[in-house]
């Protein structure tokens, strides 16, 4: 057989295997992040948090998840059934598919593309379609309001989010996450070079995935549960999963872009070789990622929610100009010092 065909076939097999693995990985990821949210939030509120299911209540979020699997699945009478059914799937797949390009450890990436940054932002933005459709199809005014809020919010925050990354891209001269990490191996973590870019990315990312203080989409004191109001059973479970997976992914991308991905911090050797290197990389990658997950939960425990118009105002009047300034300064620095 033609070696090119074999190579293509092998690539396809590798791709399918990797995607399947990652799709399966989303489930424990969601459980772990959900469990952290339950426990960390409880500790911050001076509570114990779940401590009955399993040792230290470790399986509580898994139990919540499996419970939803066994709940009755209701479709409201006048809902638009096809879109109502598809919406959770769209939101979940947007989150799960963007996991493909995350470099977990040296060589451990499902889809190592030259344009993985562009792929990532194209895919993660798709979840807005799911939210909007969910809001529209539920035949509920709270859902509709939530869906429209989601659309407005995500469309606004895509721009500062993307612009804050362009700084890193200009700096590293690459659109591949793997190469961005490798650049940081030589030049130090990008946070050092992107002191303005990082906070912009962090805020915009929180808005992008509807975390507090930007959770107007699911503002349960205003519009009961936003687009998810009419969803029950596992359809709601998909939204629930997608929320946590998206939180994990955003933290992972944050770590990849600004905190050196799988690289260990300074006094330690940044990277090892062989299988031990993979484990070493994975360890540091997950450690840093889950640190930022905790930070996001910390923010949730502390801050109230901003209003829709304040959110938009912040995106267009605050973050966007800042991101442009950051981009300009970065470009100037790159040109002047010829990095």
């Amino acid at each position: 057989m033609d070696p090119a065909v074999v190579e293509t076939l092998l690539g396809i097999v590798r791709f399918v295997a990797a995607t399947t693995l990652l799709l399966l990985l989303t489930v424990p990821t969601a459980f772990i992040v959900g469990q952290m949210e339950l426990k960390v939030l409880a500790q911050m509120q001076l509570r114990y948090g779940p401590n009955r299911v399993g040792p230290w209540g470790m399986f509580q979020s898994a139990v919540h998840g499996f419970k939803m699997l066994a709940k009755e699945d209701l479709t409201p009478d006048r809902a638009d059934v096809p879109t109502f059914t598809l919406a959770p799937w769209m939101v979940f797949m947007a989150a799960a598919m963007s996991m493909l390009v995350i470099p977990f450890a040296p060589g451990l990436v499902a889809f190592d593309s030259e344009i993985s940054v562009i792929y990532f932002f194209a895919i993660i933005g798709l979840s807005v379609v799911g939210m909007l459709v969910a809001g529209w199809a539920s035949y509920n005014k709270y859902s509709l309001l939530g869906g429209l809020r989601s659309a407005a919010q995500m469309v606004s925050y895509e721009i500062p989010l993307t612009l804050s990354i362009v700084g890193v891209v200009v700096l590293t001269g690459s659109l591949s996450f793997t190469q961005i990490v490798e650049w940081q191996l030589d030049h130090g973590w990008a946070i050092v070079w992107q002191l303005i870019g990082f906070p912009i990315f962090f805020i915009a990312a929180a808005a992008e995935i509807n975390r507090t203080p930007f959770d107007m989409v699911e503002a349960d004191s205003e519009i009961v549960a936003g687009p998810f109001t009419e969803y029950s059973g596992m359809r709601f479970g998909f939204f629930y999963f997608a929320e946590y997976v998206a939180l994990f992914i955003m933290c992972a991308i944050l770590v990849t872009l600004f905190f050196g991905g799988w690289l260990a911090p300074w006094p330690l050797p940044a990277q090892l070789d062989g299988f031990a290197g993979t484990v070493y990389g994975l360890f540091w990658f997950f450690l840093k990622t889950y640190f930022f997950v905790v930070v996001a939960i910390w923010v949730r425990a502390t801050l109230p929610r901003v209003r829709v118009d304040q959110l938009m105002g912040m995106a267009w009047k605050g973050l966007l100009p800042l991101a442009l300034v950051n981009l300009f300064v970065t470009a100037a620095v790159v040109l002047i010092f010829n990095l």
């Binding site: 948090g49 709940k71 109001t229 709601f236």
Partner: protein, 209 residues
């Protein structure tokens, strides 16, 4: 470990099964229980998938964030640091009935509120349970004589656990919820019978004034 619900007759019903004769089971020290099922060494392994499901359900009871009156404050107090209901997996109070498992009717039910409350109950997906918290919900309590109070929430919807008190202490509500967990594990909750009762017995749905 409750494997099956004990039948209510006095004389033991021997359920015919081959467990007693099964050499493999005997080897593990298992023998048939007069009331059905087995008991012995292997008992630690649940023999029914349903039972795992019941365990999962019992440990993940999300209450609906719906308080009617005074008891609602004590219900919230149950979720707060002093009496942390989250320990039992009961914390995320869902605002939408579509995602809730337990309806804690906390407070006096008035005739005007009865219709909306029954709608809430109907909007919750199966399996679902109802806890009547406080004397007002169980019987009308101190407002029993009033012209606008429903004398007990069980006149309009099925109730699984009654928690007495006016209002009950948070510990009382937690105790009631743990009783509900027992019901769920033994499949004795309303929802199990609800599905079997058939439409003609569900007249409570329309019987709201």
């Amino acid at each position: 470990m409750a494997i099956t619900t004990p039948p209510k007759t006095d004389e033991p019903i021997v359920i015919p099964d081959a467990a007693g004769d099964d050499p493999l089971l005997s080897e593990f020290g298992m023998e048939a229980h007069p009331q059905g099922g087995f008991h012995g060494l292997l008992e630690v392994i649940p023999t029914r998938a349903d039972y795992i499901l019941d365990l999962i359900r019992a440990n993940s009871l999300w209450p609906l964030l719906s308080g009617l009156s005074c008891c609602a404050i004590e219900m919230m107090s149950t979720a707060t640091p002093v009496n942390d209901m989250d320990r039992f997996g009961m914390f995320p109070f869902r605002a939408s009935p579509r995602q809730a498992d337990v309806l804690i009717v906390a407070g006096t039910l008035t005739t005007k509120m009865a219709g909306p409350l029954v709608r809430l109950w109907a909007q919750m997906p199966e399996p679902k349970w109802c806890v009547a918290m406080g004397t007002c919900t169980t019987s009308g309590g101190r407002f029993k004589r009033s012209y606008s109070v429903v004398q007990g929430v069980d006149r309009v919807m099925p109730v699984d656990v009654y928690v007495p008190g006016c209002p009950p202490r948070p510990e009382g509500l937690i105790y009631g919820m743990m009783k509900l967990q027992e019901l769920v594990k033994q499949r004795r909750g309303q929802w199990a019978t609800y599905a079997d009762r058939g439409p003609e017995l569900r007249s409570w749905e329309g019987d709201v004034r």
